[in-house]
């Protein structure tokens, strides 16, 4: 891995996904790459990667799962051959880390828990948590919309869904940030966070085996059978790992970025007040404009893709926010428009790995924003230059003080 160098010289050949200016505002660089003669950039930094920027290319890569495999999905890291060494070698993050044919049952078993009719029951408790968080700061006239609000919501919902203590939310958040933020630049940090997560869920699984619970996701998965055989325990362990790692940072980043946007756009707050039926489209548009996630794929075999000579084991980044800002697909892509007629956004990816938790994420985003706007209808950024962002795998606000 390279260390943090001075500013990248040429984004087409030397982009740095952790460059501070890029993390704060990646869109000008994405546009520069997208409109160049080579819209798929390459860098040697952080283990090396390709970065397509056009919607069509990113969707094609998502669909071509045989060529662009999910052997590794982090945007940095060791070569795939080394991923599953050490403790918990057999525990991955299915189905996000699975390829067909196993991917099919890995995904089939968890999808029913995330279908719209299944996640609807989490709306009222999500709303309760949002209100309790707002109670803590509403009298102060100022709050950190990222750290005191957005960050606090999805971790509780996921903990509740997994049947683990919601009052451990700060601990869980620290672990997830260890994997998806600091850990992307420091392998030791990532492995330590992974070990904490997997130690915790090893104990939870042991507890459920000794004391099975009713209507409990972990208990149910441990009892699940595929082709007449119980599923491996490593699979259940991996699903727990995935739900925590993929279900917290992502949705929180989306809520945070949306509040950052609404803080600066009173006309959009007004539109939502005037026409509550606009909410579903507004949520989709905010997801499009501020899609937090970049996923990675590992190239299976040497291939020329859109003129780029990709080699086996090369890493390819799929920045869904880059896809969602492509003017070939979206008119005025940098404009947030709640009345956008066609919005084929890919904030949740596309193809067989479409985010399994997307319905839950949408619910959390909508409830978090609705609850905030009901209690705090008028607010603005305390200091736009003081807002901090995380980037890399998941982009969103980390400190975002607002006054009201």
């Amino acid at each position: 891995m390279t260390t943090l160098d001075p500013q990248p010289i040429d984004p087409l050949t030397d982009y740095d996904i952790f460059d501070r200016a890029f993390v704060r505002d990646p869109f000008p660089v994405m546009e520069q790459i997208r409109e160049s003669e080579c819209p798929i950039a390459h860098t040697e930094r952080w283990g090396g990667s390709w970065m397509p920027t056009r919607y069509a290319d990113i969707v094609a890569i998502a669909q071509e799962f045989e060529t662009f495999t999910s052997r590794q999905i982090l945007v940095t890291g060791p070569p795939p051959a080394q991923v599953f060494e050490g403790p918990y070698a057999g525990v991955a993050a299915p189905p996000i880390s699975s390829d067909p044919p196993e991917h099919h049952w890995h995904r089939r078993l968890i999808l029913p828990y995330f279908a719209p009719q299944s996640i609807a029951k989490y709306e009222s408790i999500t709303s309760d948590w949002c209100n309790q968080l707002i109670d803590r700061f509403i009298d102060q006239g100022v709050a950190d919309s990222a750290a005191d609000y957005a960050q606090q919501i999805p971790v509780r919902v996921i903990a509740h869904m997994l049947g683990v203590p919601t009052d451990m939310s700060d601990t869980f958040t620290g672990w997830v940030r260890g994997v998806l933020e600091a850990g992307l630049m420091d392998q030791e940090v990532r492995l330590a966070a992974r070990k904490n997560i997997l130690d915790f869920f090893r104990d939870q699984i042991a507890d459920r085996k000794a004391n099975p619970r009713e209507n409990d996701l972990i208990t149910n998965l441990l009892a699940a059978e595929v082709d007449g055989e119980k599923v491996p325990e490593d699979y259940v362990h991996g699903v727990c790992n995935l739900m925590l790692v993929a279900g917290v940072d992502t949705t929180w980043s989306s809520i945070g970025a949306s509040l950052w946007h609404l803080a600066q756009h009173p006309e959009h707050r007004q539109q939502l007040r005037d026409d509550p039926e606009l909410w579903p489209a507004a949520v989709e548009e905010l997801l499009r404009a501020y899609a937090p996630v970049t996923m990675a794929r590992i190239v299976d075999h040497d291939i020329e893709f859109q003129g780029c000579p990709m080699k086996a084991d090369d890493r390819v980044l799929m920045s869904f926010s880059a896809a969602n800002r492509d003017p070939r697909q979206f008119e005025n892509p940098d404009v947030v428009d709640f009345h956008r007629e066609h919005n084929r956004h890919v904030a949740f990816g596309a193809g067989i790995h479409r985010c399994a938790g997307s319905n839950l994420a949408r619910l959390e985003l909508r409830v978090a924003l609705q609850t905030w706007l009901a209690r705090i209808p008028e607010f603005e950024l305390a200091d736009p230059s003081a807002v901090t962002w995380a980037g890399g795998q998941v982009r969103g606000t980390r400190q975002c003080a607002v006054t009201f």
Binding site: V59, R108, L111, P112, F114, A115, P116, Q117, P280, A281, E284, E341, H342, N343, R344, H345, V346, F348, A350, G351, I352, R354, S358, N359, R362
Partner: protein, 93 residues
């Protein structure tokens, strides 16, 4: 089938819409077809047109209205088709 159960849940709305049709409103017809193999459960269609699309037990799309759609739902159905990231919805007019 779960899709059927959901369709039953939607019956009042669907029945109203059929009633509207019976009064002879609208002269253009529209049908939607869903390519189930292409659907990966984004639910973008159900968000744009909840009267027309729902979800099965896995969260993949199901069509709730057989046959012609009432004109009142044409715009929503077009939007649903235009929002599907998998291009799994076709509109026949």
């Amino acid at each position: 089938m779960t899709g059927g159960l959901i369709a039953v849940g939607m019956l009042p709305a669907a029945a109203r819409l059929r009633a509207a049709l019976c009064f002879g409103k609208g002269t253009t017809s529209m049908r939607v077809t869903l390519n189930y193999a292409a659907c990966h459960g984004h639910q973008s269609c159900a968000i744009a047109a909840p009267e027309v699309f729902g979800a099965d037990e896995l969260g993949n799309a199901v069509v709730l209205i057989d046959g012609d759609l009432p004109e009142a739902l044409h715009a929503k159905a077009r939007r649903a088709a235009g929002n599907c990231p998998e291009h799994a919805i076709a509109i026949e007019e």
